[in-house]
Amino acid sequence: MKRKFLVIIASLFFEIGKLDAQTISGKVVDSRTGETIIGATVYTADKTKGVVTNYEGEFSIDVAKLPVKLNVSFTGYSARSLIVYDDEESVSITLNEKRSFLNDVVVVGYGSQKRTQLTGAVTTLGKDIISNSPSPSFENILTGTIPGVNVTTNSQPGAASNIRIRGGNSVNASNDPLYVIDGVIYYKEGGSLDSGVKGVGVEGGISPLSLINPNDIESVEILKDVSATAIYGSRGANGVIIVTTKKGERDNAQISYDYSLTIANTSKKLDVLNAKQFAEFQKTYFYNKEGFSDEQIEALGEGTDWQDAVLRTAITNSHNINISGGDTKTRYSISLNNVNQEGIVRNTGYLRKGGRLNFERLVKPGLTAGVMANVSRGEQQGLSSSSAVTYNGSPFQGGITNSLVYALIMPPTVSVYASDGSYNFTNPYEYLYFKSGSTSANPVHDLESTTAKSISDDILGNMFLKYEITPDFVLKASLGFDVENYTQNLYAPENTALGMAVGGIGSIVKRRLVAQQQEYTADYSKQINNANFINALVGFTYQNTEKTNLMAWNYGFSNNSLGVYDLEAGNGINATKPISSISHSDLYSAIARVNYTLLDRYNATATVRADRSSKFANGHNWGVFPSLGLSWNVDKEPFLDAKEKWLDGLKIRASIGTVGNQEIGDNLSVQTYKKTSLSGTSVTTVSNAANEDLKWETTMSFNTGFDLSLFNGKWTFVGDWYYKKTNDLILTVPSDVALTGVSSYTANIGNVVNRGFEFMVGYNPIHKRKQNLELSAFVAYNHNEFTNIGEGREYLDADESYYRHIKGESVGTYFGLLFDGVVQSDEDVSALPTIGGSTLEPGDAKFVDVDDDGKITQNDRVELGHSLPDYTFGFNSSYTWRRLDASVVIQGTSGGSVYNMLRRRLELASDSYNVSVDLLNSWTATNASDVVAVSSVRPMTAYVDSRYIESTDYIRLKTLSVGYTFPLRFIKGSIRLSATASNLFTITGYSGYDPEVSGGVDKGNYPNSRSFTFGCKLSF
């Protein structure tokens, strides 16, 4: 009884006591983003009371009396204190994020993560680099800025560059990385479509990425190792590039208009003979077809510069307008763009018109709906191309590939225009290859009159619904689609090089691609006990792709006025019937990922993805791709206390796992047939032998690395070492024709290994409100080799004779003879190996007789280098001072080679075509050159030799940009004027136009340009 009485008295005093206690409530938010901070610690200065903010960032703390000093802290933010004097209002506390790149939030597959919690190798492209690049294509922005990413630029406007992340894993499957644009997996082939006329087509084609406007890009993340890419399973083997477009900022409506004018010229011309030199050369070695006397030759001078005639100063105009903004419930961004880019080769260029819409709205509490749509039209007028073709019965092995190359070898004594100003179609040197009757082809006329057009109409879109059942548990459903109509029109009139033999060629090729993607994910996060954080994601995705092709062509047009739009007007002789095709592929996937963080120090990410692809044989079309990543935030350890102010962050990470590659052609596992002609009779033959065991290429990879940030972000270091092994490589292997009906088929044999390291250092010596200087440099090394070509095999021949797949050597290894100088007059020719049964003579090129059998044959070929560079490096810097900004990007590679087929062509002396000035130093009885063989036509081998496998080592000043921003107070806006120089200079020993040769062979690739861009951006 007494006890009850005392309890009641105590309750009474307790209630009275509560009257004196003060309850302070408030919210903790990020000062920059306004986002609430969950799990921040709020405690009294005397540490007697402490609480943690909830999922709304809110807290409530009881204190004995006011005023009271509260301290607030959270990892990655500078601690803050404030004195609370009254509790009439809720307390609002803003924390400033510590300046360390480890505090960045990065976009990863199906979500985002703080860099401190990452276990994978993810690099973010700097915003300055995106915004300062004048290029209309975002591929060029990647050049020289990301360690481990090697971009070989294709200089033709709108064409696709070659992008490799940590080397190439495959031979027959694609080595391109996967692109994810606002959540939509964006993959399709670019390039040329087969026009159906053998060897003739449109060079280059439109890059799928050129349809994305760089001005729309908010951020680019490059996922390099398996921990980051495993969530993409069968498509993550080559790395993933995630592009996020601008969405609009809340309470910050903005309108901007961007205009730029670019003036471009070729950065280099090749040295070929002028008119005087050419006439002398012809008279010395060949037939002097124009019958020049010595006096006439002296008077010829420079003659026609055909390079100048086909090259020009190119102008590009680019317009972009963007409107964005939002409020507490809505965000939007709308943009329109128009780029008209002339190419430096006459009548080439790229035109893009497009628009983008990003819109999302909080429809109801917790329910967000959004839509993204990108509509674009790209039109590229490119170079027409030819490879091994037969004209008028004469074979021409890859010598003249396009009008640019033809112009290079045109005799400089022949003029572009006749005396009456019309095109000159008279060329006394031209053979029947590009001549019909008395009419010879004229490369300038070819460029102006030939249609080689690629047109892409593309709609890329994504709609999503996101529902927050609770702030921890989010469901998301999205539907993405990509519809593309891609057309290539080729029309070469009868008086052009391509059309001459058949009275004109016209062809239309159309491809329609429809890709649909559905994704359903559930994402759950939970902070447990302040020490444990867990995030789990599960999902299901489905993608189907349907492609239809239609090709039609005809020859013999008597009227060119409608060009390709009147194929019926052709005479149909030798033209085959139109061709159509359809292909379909499906990909079903289940994904799961768990992220776990203990004590904010120890992170683990486990991912598994299961894919089922229709591209592989039954029984082999499921693939399971697991990965595990671990990381350790060493700076959070007690022995490296936060008092160590020089250390902002140190993380060590490692990952291991498996990803796959399913980017091969459709129907390779099944037997397919084609119609062909045999002795004039139409027959059906096998085009592809079945392989019921055809399955995924899988790449197992291991990566370890570190991220270090010192002195409040002043110094940053990132290093990675990796090892990747691709198993079950899909290769073309020889087969028994009698059994299969074909000479080769596709099988999983062989392994490829890539191993290397990447190291990047960043320095931010000046970081002030009105002045900022940042510098960064990186070097990356990659070693690539076949470790297995198949049981018992040491090599496998490739489709081209100058390549060979060799065990222990890199993918893309050149294979040819070793040049051994020029036979001199005093040499004993009987001791030299023969070529094609002929004994060499003074002046002939010599080659090393590797097998020492006394003759030069295919067995004397050796490895001559490889196309993939060993080292890539880059340096970039950005500086801002008040309203002035400047940036520079320098990049280069080392250790790679290219087959300079164009130079080989230019060193082939003939009585029809111009040659390189190097032949002026060719061997003669009085000029004992040991470098350039005799210029007369002599027995030679068709195999490529070491003279034409050249190093592509280079260092280039890629961009140099300066800008100044003027405030416009009357509209609360600003205008930025800028000037950018691109490809200002290149230091290289490569003799061709440019050492960046896409595809590994320089057949006369589109030359690189040096350009100057003047820009104006109005924002308000």
Binding site: M1, K4, F5, I8, I9, S11, L12, E15, I16, K18, L19, I24, G26, S31, R32, P67, S78, R80, S81, L82, I83, V84, Y85, D86, D87, E88, E89, V91, S92, I93, T94, N96, K98, R99, D251, D327, N712, H767, K768, R769
Partner: protein
Amino acid sequence: MKRIKFIIIVAIAFFKVAIINASEVEKTEKDQGTTVITVKANKAGKLLVEAWADAFMKSHPNVQIKLVGRADKESDLTLVNHNDAGNQVTYVGRYAILPITTTQNPYISELKRKDWGRNDIKKLYFSGLDEDLDEEEESTGKAGKLRRKLTVYSGANSNSASRSFASYFGFKTNEIRGNKISGDDFFLLSAIEDDKSSITFNNMAYIYNTDTRMLRPEIYVLPLNLKADQEKALKSGNLDEVIKFLETESTDLIPIENIGFEYESLTPEVRLFLDWVVKDGQRFNNLKGFLTLGAVNSDSAISYR
């Protein structure tokens, strides 16, 4: 014993009810023909609102104006010094913010030796995105040297003058360096009293005694780089002299911000009150340490409705 228990239990219940009642919000009500308008304001604003209310109620006896606590969730009118996007506001006056310290500040003699210009104010009060920004400026000049010695106090609440002060000099609130307080800006005076080596800034209505019309004896206003007559007015310590020059002349050193009544909906009575404040009520502004709307603002104040 049973009776004592009963009494104690009742007492506990009584206290609980009292606690609950202490936090109840007073709502607008119509009571037998009288309309009640509830108004929320900070400490300085309360004095001005009370003056308006008293005068208005005399001429409009059917309207009652009640001041409610800032913790109350709802009120018909809230006196604010910002116009957040989307809210309706009628401006009713202006206030000026002056940089101050206490007369007990050990560095006051150094503060007195200089007339502080705009860049000096920036150096003294602001940092960039982190504390160590402007390292070079920190070490140069009087402002740079004093920066290290003086702590800045500013208000963290949404209605604090911090926002206006920062914005006037081209910064954001979180770029004011030093310590924050939570509570009415009036308590900034307490903060600098407790920490003598500190400076702050505040509404003129707080730092001058509106009864004596003189600067509070414990407060020292930093000498600013003004024109001679403006400097004289500021140094006089007389509120009316300062108000006179602020209402007739311009300077880029003293932030002047609008105050207004924020509301969600306009009843006829509220509209009547606002109309009165904008016209007849302006005569009370100077009295309570505030500035009047001024000719330009009074037109735009009405148009905001």
